[in-house]
Protein backbone atom coordinates (compact mmCIF):
# COMPACT_ATOMS: atom_id res chain seq x y z
CA UNK A 1 0.00 0.00 0.00
CA UNK A 2 2.16 2.90 -1.23
CA UNK A 3 2.35 5.79 1.23
CA UNK A 4 3.32 9.37 0.57
CA UNK A 5 4.25 11.65 3.46
CA UNK A 6 3.98 15.40 3.12
CA UNK A 7 5.96 17.45 5.64
CA UNK A 8 4.66 20.94 6.31
CA UNK A 9 6.99 23.91 5.98
CA UNK A 10 7.26 24.64 9.69
CA UNK A 11 8.88 21.23 10.21
CA UNK A 12 12.04 22.41 8.44
CA UNK A 13 13.24 23.98 11.68
CA UNK A 14 16.05 22.24 13.57
CA UNK A 15 13.75 21.73 16.54
CA UNK A 16 11.78 19.11 14.65
CA UNK A 17 14.73 17.24 13.09
CA UNK A 18 15.13 14.67 15.90
CA UNK A 19 11.35 14.00 15.91
CA UNK A 20 11.31 13.49 12.16
CA UNK A 21 14.20 11.02 12.32
CA UNK A 22 12.43 9.02 15.06
CA UNK A 23 9.21 9.22 13.07
CA UNK A 24 10.82 7.84 9.93
CA UNK A 25 12.46 5.01 11.88
CA UNK A 26 9.14 4.10 13.49
CA UNK A 27 7.33 4.11 10.17
CA UNK A 28 10.00 1.82 8.70
CA UNK A 29 9.70 -0.54 11.68
CA UNK A 30 5.93 -0.72 11.13
CA UNK A 31 6.33 -1.31 7.39
CA UNK A 32 4.68 2.00 6.59
CA UNK A 33 7.61 3.64 4.86
CA UNK A 34 6.97 5.71 1.76
CA UNK A 35 8.14 8.62 -0.28
CA UNK A 36 8.51 11.97 1.44
CA UNK A 37 7.67 15.38 0.05
CA UNK A 38 8.54 18.63 1.77
CA UNK A 39 6.43 21.71 1.33
CA UNK A 40 8.41 24.81 0.45
CA UNK A 41 7.55 28.18 -1.01
CA UNK A 42 8.31 26.75 -4.45
CA UNK A 43 6.44 23.44 -4.09
CA UNK A 44 2.67 23.48 -3.78
CA UNK A 45 0.54 20.83 -2.11
CA UNK A 46 -1.32 20.31 -5.36
CA UNK A 47 1.81 19.57 -7.41
CA UNK A 48 3.36 17.28 -4.81
CA UNK A 49 0.18 15.28 -4.29
CA UNK A 50 -0.59 15.04 -8.00
CA UNK A 51 2.91 13.68 -8.64
CA UNK A 52 2.64 11.20 -5.78
CA UNK A 53 -0.73 9.88 -6.94
CA UNK A 54 0.51 9.63 -10.50
CA UNK A 55 3.41 7.54 -9.21
CA UNK A 56 1.05 5.15 -7.45
CA UNK A 57 0.57 6.46 -3.92
CA UNK A 58 -2.87 5.64 -2.54
CA UNK A 59 -2.39 6.90 1.01
CA UNK A 60 -1.35 10.51 1.52
CA UNK A 61 -0.25 11.37 5.05
CA UNK A 62 0.11 14.95 6.17
CA UNK A 63 2.80 15.51 8.77
CA UNK A 64 1.90 18.78 10.41
CA UNK A 65 -1.26 20.30 11.85
CA UNK A 66 -4.86 21.30 11.01
CA UNK A 67 -3.77 23.46 8.10
CA UNK A 68 -1.65 20.68 6.59
CA UNK A 69 -4.64 18.35 6.81
CA UNK A 70 -7.10 20.86 5.35
CA UNK A 71 -4.84 21.75 2.44
CA UNK A 72 -4.38 18.07 1.64
CA UNK A 73 -8.12 17.41 1.88
CA UNK A 74 -8.83 20.14 -0.68
CA UNK A 75 -6.39 18.56 -3.11
CA UNK A 76 -7.22 14.90 -2.47
CA UNK A 77 -10.99 15.40 -2.66
CA UNK A 78 -11.29 14.69 -6.40
CA UNK A 79 -9.03 11.61 -6.14
CA UNK A 80 -9.68 8.27 -4.48
CA UNK A 81 -6.68 8.39 -2.17
CA UNK A 82 -6.92 7.92 1.59
CA UNK A 83 -5.82 10.78 3.85
CA UNK A 84 -3.87 10.35 7.07
CA UNK A 85 -2.41 12.73 9.63
CA UNK A 86 0.64 12.66 11.86
CA UNK A 87 0.31 15.70 14.10
CA UNK A 88 3.62 17.28 15.04
CA UNK A 89 3.86 20.39 17.20
CA UNK A 90 1.35 21.45 19.79
CA UNK A 91 -0.43 24.27 17.95
CA UNK A 92 -3.55 23.94 15.79
CA UNK A 93 -4.12 20.26 16.43
CA UNK A 94 -7.93 20.39 16.69
CA UNK A 95 -8.49 17.93 13.86
CA UNK A 96 -6.07 15.38 15.31
CA UNK A 97 -7.99 15.60 18.58
CA UNK A 98 -11.33 15.04 16.85
CA UNK A 99 -9.97 12.18 14.74
CA UNK A 100 -8.52 10.50 17.84
CA UNK A 101 -4.93 10.73 16.63
CA UNK A 102 -2.30 11.26 19.34
CA UNK A 103 0.48 13.78 18.86
CA UNK A 104 3.88 12.75 17.53
CA UNK A 105 5.18 9.26 16.98
CA UNK A 106 2.19 7.60 18.67
CA UNK A 107 0.19 8.57 15.59
CA UNK A 108 2.08 5.86 13.67
CA UNK A 109 0.08 3.24 15.57
CA UNK A 110 -3.14 4.81 14.27
CA UNK A 111 -1.78 4.64 10.73
CA UNK A 112 -0.83 1.02 11.31
CA UNK A 113 -4.31 0.12 12.60
CA UNK A 114 -5.80 1.78 9.53
CA UNK A 115 -9.38 2.43 10.59
CA UNK A 116 -10.84 4.34 7.66
CA UNK A 117 -13.87 6.62 7.99
CA UNK A 118 -15.68 8.43 5.20
CA UNK A 119 -15.94 12.09 6.16
CA UNK A 120 -18.10 14.80 4.61
CA UNK A 121 -16.64 17.50 2.43
CA UNK A 122 -18.06 20.99 2.16
CA UNK A 123 -17.72 23.50 -0.61
CA UNK A 124 -17.56 27.26 -0.45
CA UNK A 125 -17.94 28.99 -3.79
CA UNK A 126 -17.03 25.71 -5.47
CA UNK A 127 -13.85 25.21 -3.43
CA UNK A 128 -13.58 22.30 -1.01
CA UNK A 129 -13.22 22.74 2.73
CA UNK A 130 -13.27 20.19 5.52
CA UNK A 131 -13.00 21.86 8.93
CA UNK A 132 -15.02 25.07 9.36
CA UNK A 133 -15.71 28.58 8.15
CA UNK A 134 -15.74 31.57 10.49
CA UNK A 135 -17.19 35.03 9.93
CA UNK A 136 -17.97 38.02 12.15
CA UNK A 137 -20.59 40.69 11.57
CA UNK A 138 -24.22 40.91 10.51
CA UNK A 139 -24.44 38.95 7.27
CA UNK A 140 -27.71 38.02 5.63
CA UNK A 141 -28.02 34.26 5.79
CA UNK A 142 -30.33 32.02 3.79
CA UNK A 143 -30.46 28.35 4.71
CA UNK A 144 -31.57 25.46 2.50
CA UNK A 145 -33.36 27.99 0.28
CA UNK A 146 -36.24 27.88 2.80
CA UNK A 147 -35.62 30.43 5.50
CA UNK A 148 -33.54 33.48 6.32
CA UNK A 149 -31.76 34.52 9.49
CA UNK A 150 -31.61 38.09 10.73
CA UNK A 151 -29.57 39.47 13.60
CA UNK A 152 -30.09 42.42 15.89
CA UNK A 153 -26.37 42.81 16.59
CA UNK A 154 -23.03 41.63 15.18
CA UNK A 155 -22.44 37.91 15.63
CA UNK A 156 -19.60 35.42 15.60
CA UNK A 157 -20.62 32.69 13.18
CA UNK A 158 -18.85 29.38 12.71
CA UNK A 159 -20.03 26.87 10.11
CA UNK A 160 -18.64 23.52 11.22
CA UNK A 161 -18.05 20.29 9.36
CA UNK A 162 -15.17 18.78 11.33
CA UNK A 163 -14.70 21.09 14.29
CA UNK A 164 -15.70 21.74 17.88
CA UNK A 165 -19.02 23.53 18.19
CA UNK A 166 -18.17 24.22 21.82
CA UNK A 167 -15.67 22.85 24.28
CA UNK A 168 -17.68 19.67 24.84
CA UNK A 169 -19.18 18.75 21.49
CA UNK A 170 -18.01 18.26 17.94
CA UNK A 171 -20.00 18.53 14.78
CA UNK A 172 -20.80 15.21 13.16
CA UNK A 173 -18.64 14.96 10.01
CA UNK A 174 -20.66 12.04 8.65
CA UNK A 175 -24.26 13.36 8.62
CA UNK A 176 -23.96 15.37 5.40
CA UNK A 177 -24.97 18.52 7.27
CA UNK A 178 -23.14 21.65 8.30
CA UNK A 179 -23.71 22.92 11.83
CA UNK A 180 -23.89 26.69 12.04
CA UNK A 181 -23.00 28.05 15.48
CA UNK A 182 -23.98 31.67 16.10
CA UNK A 183 -23.23 33.72 19.15
CA UNK A 184 -23.20 37.37 20.07
CA UNK A 185 -19.86 39.05 19.46
CA UNK A 186 -20.32 40.79 22.78
CA UNK A 187 -20.54 37.42 24.53
CA UNK A 188 -17.73 35.48 26.07
CA UNK A 189 -15.32 33.22 24.26
CA UNK A 190 -16.24 29.74 23.06
CA UNK A 191 -14.76 27.97 26.06
CA UNK A 192 -17.10 29.18 28.84
CA UNK A 193 -20.04 27.46 27.18
CA UNK A 194 -19.06 24.29 28.94
CA UNK A 195 -21.48 23.35 31.75
CA UNK A 196 -23.76 26.27 30.90
CA UNK A 197 -27.01 26.39 29.06
CA UNK A 198 -26.09 27.54 25.57
CA UNK A 199 -29.03 29.90 25.36
CA UNK A 200 -27.83 31.86 28.40
CA UNK A 201 -25.09 33.26 26.23
CA UNK A 202 -27.28 33.80 23.20
CA UNK A 203 -25.94 30.85 21.27
CA UNK A 204 -27.78 29.40 18.29
CA UNK A 205 -26.98 26.06 16.66
CA UNK A 206 -28.61 25.50 13.30
CA UNK A 207 -27.89 22.53 11.03
CA UNK A 208 -28.23 23.12 7.29
CA UNK A 209 -27.29 21.59 3.97
CA UNK A 210 -26.78 24.84 2.13
CA UNK A 211 -26.04 28.32 3.40
CA UNK A 212 -25.86 31.53 1.42
CA UNK A 213 -24.01 34.40 3.06
CA UNK A 214 -24.35 37.93 1.75
CA UNK A 215 -23.54 41.34 3.13
CA UNK A 216 -25.19 44.23 1.31
CA UNK A 217 -23.27 47.06 3.00
CA UNK A 218 -19.69 45.81 3.10
CA UNK A 219 -17.85 42.65 2.16
CA UNK A 220 -17.22 40.42 5.15
CA UNK A 221 -14.14 38.19 5.43
CA UNK A 222 -14.67 34.48 5.79
CA UNK A 223 -11.84 32.44 7.26
CA UNK A 224 -11.95 29.00 5.67
CA UNK A 225 -10.22 26.12 7.47
CA UNK A 226 -8.18 28.68 9.44
CA UNK A 227 -5.93 29.50 6.49
CA UNK A 228 -7.89 30.82 3.51
CA UNK A 229 -9.73 34.13 3.46
CA UNK A 230 -12.65 34.70 1.11
CA UNK A 231 -15.14 37.55 0.87
CA UNK A 232 -18.93 37.55 0.83
CA UNK A 233 -21.09 36.66 -1.04
CA UNK A 234 -20.54 32.96 -0.44
CA UNK A 235 -22.47 29.80 -1.21
CA UNK A 236 -21.62 27.07 1.26
CA UNK A 237 -22.90 23.54 0.84
CA UNK A 238 -22.54 20.07 2.27
CA UNK A 239 -21.60 18.37 -0.97
CA UNK A 240 -22.51 14.80 -0.15
CA UNK A 241 -19.03 13.86 -1.34
CA UNK A 242 -16.83 11.88 1.03
CA UNK A 243 -13.13 11.65 1.70
CA UNK A 244 -11.49 8.56 3.17
CA UNK A 245 -9.60 9.43 6.33
CA UNK A 246 -7.57 7.25 8.70
CA UNK A 247 -8.95 7.76 12.23
CA UNK A 248 -8.14 6.55 15.71
CA UNK A 249 -10.27 4.49 18.09
CA UNK A 250 -10.62 7.54 20.34
CA UNK A 251 -12.21 9.73 17.71
CA UNK A 252 -14.89 12.11 18.98
CA UNK A 253 -17.65 11.26 16.48
Amino acid sequence: MPYFYLYDTYLQGAAYAPQLIRLENTLTDLGLQGRVGRLTLLKSVKDLVATAIREGADTIVGVGNDITFSRLAEVIAPHKATLGLIPLGAEQQTIANILGIPLGILACQVLSSRIVANLDLGKINNQYFIQSIAVKGKPNIECNGNYKLQFSSPQEIKICNLDFIDSARVSDPQNNLLEMVIKNSAGKSWLPWFNKNSTDLGVSIIPAKSIRLTSPKEDLSLVVDNHRILKTPANIIATGEKIKVIVGKRRLF
Binding site: Q150, F151, E179, K183, F253
Partner: protein, 140 residues
Protein backbone atom coordinates in the same frame (compact mmCIF):
# COMPACT_ATOMS: atom_id res chain seq x y z
CA UNK B 1 -26.67 15.23 14.70
CA UNK B 2 -24.26 15.78 17.52
CA UNK B 3 -22.30 13.03 19.16
CA UNK B 4 -23.28 14.30 22.59
CA UNK B 5 -26.62 16.03 22.71
CA UNK B 6 -26.90 18.94 25.06
CA UNK B 7 -28.79 18.83 28.32
CA UNK B 8 -32.28 19.23 26.91
CA UNK B 9 -31.65 17.09 23.86
CA UNK B 10 -32.21 19.90 21.34
CA UNK B 11 -30.50 19.64 18.00
CA UNK B 12 -31.46 23.04 16.69
CA UNK B 13 -31.24 26.07 18.96
CA UNK B 14 -32.56 29.42 17.80
CA UNK B 15 -31.04 31.87 20.27
CA UNK B 16 -32.47 35.18 21.44
CA UNK B 17 -30.37 37.25 19.03
CA UNK B 18 -31.65 35.40 15.95
CA UNK B 19 -34.79 36.01 13.93
CA UNK B 20 -35.85 33.29 11.49
CA UNK B 21 -38.12 34.07 8.54
CA UNK B 22 -39.46 31.34 6.29
CA UNK B 23 -40.26 27.67 6.41
CA UNK B 24 -38.17 26.06 9.12
CA UNK B 25 -38.25 22.31 8.51
CA UNK B 26 -36.32 19.94 10.73
CA UNK B 27 -36.00 16.24 11.45
CA UNK B 28 -34.87 16.73 15.04
CA UNK B 29 -35.66 18.69 18.17
CA UNK B 30 -35.94 22.47 18.06
CA UNK B 31 -35.43 24.93 20.90
CA UNK B 32 -36.62 28.47 20.21
CA UNK B 33 -35.46 31.39 22.35
CA UNK B 34 -35.66 34.01 19.59
CA UNK B 35 -38.19 34.91 16.89
CA UNK B 36 -39.62 32.78 14.12
CA UNK B 37 -41.98 33.92 11.35
CA UNK B 38 -43.41 31.54 8.76
CA UNK B 39 -43.69 27.84 9.48
CA UNK B 40 -42.13 25.43 11.97
CA UNK B 41 -42.35 21.79 11.02
CA UNK B 42 -40.41 19.09 12.81
CA UNK B 43 -40.58 15.36 13.32
CA UNK B 44 -39.00 15.94 16.72
CA UNK B 45 -40.00 18.02 19.70
CA UNK B 46 -40.34 21.78 20.04
CA UNK B 47 -39.42 23.80 23.08
CA UNK B 48 -40.20 27.52 23.02
CA UNK B 49 -38.77 29.60 25.88
CA UNK B 50 -40.34 32.53 27.71
CA UNK B 51 -38.72 35.12 25.46
CA UNK B 52 -39.64 33.34 22.24
CA UNK B 53 -41.98 35.02 19.74
CA UNK B 54 -43.38 32.71 17.10
CA UNK B 55 -45.59 34.03 14.30
CA UNK B 56 -45.93 30.73 12.55
CA UNK B 57 -48.00 27.64 12.09
CA UNK B 58 -46.39 24.85 14.09
CA UNK B 59 -46.35 21.11 13.57
CA UNK B 60 -44.32 18.85 15.86
CA UNK B 61 -44.44 15.56 17.71
CA UNK B 62 -44.48 17.16 21.16
CA UNK B 63 -44.14 20.74 22.31
CA UNK B 64 -43.54 22.78 25.45
CA UNK B 65 -44.41 26.42 24.91
CA UNK B 66 -43.61 29.19 27.37
CA UNK B 67 -43.59 32.17 25.00
CA UNK B 68 -45.84 33.95 22.50
CA UNK B 69 -47.31 32.10 19.53
CA UNK B 70 -49.54 33.52 16.82
CA UNK B 71 -50.55 30.71 14.52
CA UNK B 72 -52.11 27.29 14.47
CA UNK B 73 -50.46 24.50 16.44
CA UNK B 74 -50.63 20.86 15.44
CA UNK B 75 -49.03 18.43 17.88
CA UNK B 76 -49.11 14.70 17.27
CA UNK B 77 -48.54 13.76 20.89
CA UNK B 78 -48.32 16.09 23.91
CA UNK B 79 -48.60 19.87 24.01
CA UNK B 80 -47.77 21.63 27.25
CA UNK B 81 -48.50 25.33 27.74
CA UNK B 82 -46.48 26.99 30.50
CA UNK B 83 -47.92 29.74 32.76
CA UNK B 84 -46.08 32.39 30.72
CA UNK B 85 -47.38 31.17 27.36
CA UNK B 86 -49.73 33.20 25.16
CA UNK B 87 -51.32 31.40 22.23
CA UNK B 88 -53.35 33.17 19.55
CA UNK B 89 -54.44 30.39 17.25
CA UNK B 90 -56.09 27.02 17.00
CA UNK B 91 -54.70 23.94 18.69
CA UNK B 92 -54.90 20.34 17.57
CA UNK B 93 -53.19 17.91 19.92
CA UNK B 94 -53.51 14.40 21.21
CA UNK B 95 -52.74 15.47 24.79
CA UNK B 96 -53.02 19.06 26.03
CA UNK B 97 -51.66 20.33 29.34
CA UNK B 98 -52.47 23.96 30.19
CA UNK B 99 -50.81 25.51 33.23
CA UNK B 100 -52.54 28.12 35.37
CA UNK B 101 -51.87 31.54 33.89
CA UNK B 102 -51.47 30.41 30.30
CA UNK B 103 -53.43 32.55 27.81
CA UNK B 104 -55.17 30.66 25.04
CA UNK B 105 -57.24 32.46 22.42
CA UNK B 106 -58.38 29.96 19.85
CA UNK B 107 -60.17 26.74 19.21
CA UNK B 108 -58.94 23.50 20.76
CA UNK B 109 -59.40 20.11 19.21
CA UNK B 110 -58.24 17.01 21.03
CA UNK B 111 -57.51 13.55 19.74
CA UNK B 112 -55.39 11.81 17.16
CA UNK B 113 -53.91 14.07 14.50
CA UNK B 114 -54.87 12.69 11.10
CA UNK B 115 -54.92 14.02 7.59
CA UNK B 116 -58.71 14.39 7.97
CA UNK B 117 -58.45 17.17 10.53
CA UNK B 118 -55.60 18.99 8.84
CA UNK B 119 -56.22 20.68 5.53
CA UNK B 120 -53.51 22.09 3.34
CA UNK B 121 -53.79 25.67 2.13
CA UNK B 122 -52.84 26.89 -1.29
CA UNK B 123 -49.44 27.97 0.04
CA UNK B 124 -48.85 24.51 1.43
CA UNK B 125 -49.34 25.60 5.04
CA UNK B 126 -51.41 23.27 7.14
CA UNK B 127 -54.62 24.53 8.68
CA UNK B 128 -56.79 22.98 11.29
CA UNK B 129 -60.43 22.35 10.49
CA UNK B 130 -63.06 23.46 11.38
CA UNK B 131 -62.30 26.93 10.13
CA UNK B 132 -60.01 29.01 12.27
CA UNK B 133 -61.47 31.43 14.75
CA UNK B 134 -60.55 35.08 14.52
CA UNK B 135 -57.32 35.74 16.28
CA UNK B 136 -57.03 38.80 18.45
CA UNK B 137 -53.84 40.82 18.10
CA UNK B 138 -51.47 40.75 21.00
CA UNK B 139 -51.72 43.85 23.19
CA UNK B 140 -48.21 44.76 24.23
Amino acid sequence: MFKNDNQNGSETIIGPSVKVEGDFISQGNIQVEGSVSGTINTKGNLQAGEQSRINANIEATSAYIAGYVKGNITIHDRLELAPTSQINGDILAKILVVAEGAKLNGRCQMGEVTSNNISVSAKGHKKITPSAVEISEEKS
